[in-house]
Assembly symmetry: C2
Homo-oligomer: 385 residues x 2
């Protein structure tokens, strides 16, 4: 299978590229390095900034004997993207090429506009490039569970059948996003649903929960193959950030009451989910939605789990409840479905001492690089940065 990875410089993009390459697929990895620019712009770089994609592909070749082709360019540049799709003729396009941070999108008008512009134009360009240059290709798009918000009914996988005044209709599940970033993902989903309905395209939307972990079968092969690992309040996901705080001896920063429940998954499971989606493509005209997480936790649950693992590893871990910078329900109903990927064969790596220890090991190795000034939330939902 020929797999085009858009956004291959990100936390998930590079491990995904190696994962498909290791399985024998032909991989073209692209990025515009926008993540690096954004991280620098707010002085919140990853714990270790990885090598550039060309250098990582060189190391991957030395370690594995396999090629990952690299092209640097911007998905918002339609002429470039269309030529890449036309020349490579992918079977599957994995689209990660988005600004991925909710706090970044809430910092000010400029960053909100940048998020809207980048995420929506990139997605529209992907849709048109595939429609016009590789119409049978299957698009696998990373969405987020955060699109749904926290409705007072069960969250189904993508669609909701509504009985109303004696009649019935199945809608795309209505979304209530809580940040400009999450809003753009909802807008992406609406665009892709449109593309399947009107043009018969084949698209899978992976509504993913926050990912944690650093280790995959490939990233562990050499330090030069590691992925970008952010731990700051803007780009770091909560489990990763809490683990860094535990190693740094800094109290875990629970926002508000900590009763916010979300679905989570390990990085290894992200790769497995994307692979399952790619290996089992959507049909022409099908907008297929998978809720991509393996277990749900409240923020308090996570703090307890990280505290427990941290203390078993000899760290002293405190938990601090800080004012919630976000506008969100801190206690709510949450019961999302996630059977579609399990039905396709997903074997979850649940949170455990064994699955989380490699993360602590990586952080301990790079402990001297931790900047504790990056922990406290700085972007307030009401007033921005």
């Amino acid at each position: 299978m020929k797999v085009l990875i858009l956004g291959a410089d990100g936390y998930l993009g590079w491990p995904t590229a190696m994962h498909f390459s290791a399985k024998g697929h032909t991989v073209l990895a692209t990025d515009n390095y926008g993540r690096r620019t954004r991280c620098k712009s707010i002085n919140a770089e990853p714990l270790v900034e990885p090598l550039n994609l060309d250098l990582r592909a060189k190391h991957w070749r030395e370690v594995s004997g396999k090629d990952i082709a690299v092209q640097i360019g911007d998905c918002c540049d339609y002429a470039w993207l269309k030529s890449v799709v036309a020349e490579f003729q992918p079977d599957c396009v994995v689209h990660y090429a988005e600004q991925p941070s909710a706090p970044y999108s809430m910092a000010d008008q400029g960053k909100a506009a940048e998020t809207l512009q980048n995420n929506l134009m990139a997605t529209m360009n992907v849709v048109f490039a595939v429609r016009d240059a590789a119409p049978n290709a299957h698009i696998v798009k990373l969405g987020t569970m955060g699109e749904y918000g926290t409705p007072n009914i069960d969250i189904e996988e993508g669609y909701l059948t509504v009985a109303h005044k004696g009649r019935e209709h199945t809608f795309l599940y209505p979304k209530t996003p809580g940040s400009i970033y999450h809003l753009t993902k909802v807008q992406d989903s609406d665009l892709m649903y449109f593309a399947t309905r009107i043009w018969g395209m084949r698209i899978t939307d992976l509504n993913q929960g926050p990912v944690y972990g650093i280790d995959t079968d490939q990233t562990m092969l050499a330090p030069e193959l590691q992925t970008a690992f952010s731990y700051d309040d803007v780009f770091g996901t909560v489990i990763n950030r809490f683990a860094v705080q535990a190693v740094a001896g800094y109290p875990l920063t629970v926002y508000g009451k900590g009763g916010q429940v979300r679905g989570y998954l390990h990085l290894r499971d992200t790769l497995a989910c994307v692979e399952l989606a790619a290996e089992n493509p959507a049909e022409p005209g099908e907008f297929r939605v998978f809720n991509q997480f393996t277990e749900t936790f409240s923020v308090n649950d996570i703090a307890g789990l990280i505290q427990s693992v941290g203390e078993r590893l000899g760290y002293s871990v405190a938990v601090d409840h800080v004012d919630n910078p976000r506008k969100e329900l801190e206690e709510h109903y949450y019961n999302p479905a996630n059977s579609n990927l399990l039905d396709l064969g997903l074997q979850p790596h649940f949170f455990s001492f064994e699955t989380i220890k490699p993360l602590f090991d990586f952080i301990e190795t790079n402990k001297q690089r931790i900047d504790t000034s990056l922990f406290a939330p700085k972007v307030l939902w009401q007033t921005g940065l």
Copy 2:
């Protein structure tokens, strides 16, 4: 009341500006003349291109003794828009500043991207400019009934309460738009709902059906005060286009079976609805949705009505069923609610010989300008222009 009209050069914008001015409000009318550029770019100009806004404001002053201030600029230019809002300090912002054509948005990737870019960035900039420079102002945004699509259940006004597995939740009504243009309006609505939920803004979304007619109390005062009237397949609305076809002796172009039902309203009622929304503003934190139409017709109904009026006026009117360029249901359930504006006091001008005759008179006066090559649909939903 200080009323800022964004998109005042359009079919609805200019009559709205005069309407508020006639009622004694202080009006600032803005536009970037993007409509004129787009019409020229596809060689589909209005039957009579109106004077520019400065000249029309001058004539309005002569006729009425009242001022309409004019500023030319682009809502996608945030610095410009914010300075306008900060200086004028509107009580109400009426936001028409969007690319309004479904066929235009479906012509090719460039026009789809232009539509997405213009409509979403303009709306985001309006939200931020009001939030940061005139936070108590009420935004009145023109949406479209086309956002809903044609679900198999009743279309409520903005929200839908869903009972599901023994629990209940009220969602923003889920939308299923049928063109890139309509999609951008859905995306706008999601953004504005977000702004009310997170920032406590006050916004009314007017989900309007296709508008018809040319006469208002103000446009009838002098030929120089008329508004832009398009009759082509891209920018013309169906009733207006059929009336021009009837006068030109060209068969009415019904798309497909003609069973497509939509809600319609007269231009006079658009002005009344916008005024009712402005005079009765949404509360802080409220995203208020009105379905803005006065009666529903199928395309076949409209063809019959225009044929009947036309023949009474002495025209010979034929009806032609052409291949449907769009992808839409040609027979479907359609039962949309529209009580909110009626409850506020709207007195509809229903379709009748009396309400439609001024439209025929206007077209007859300008009959020699009709270009019959603009009637046939050229943009196909599957393949574009």
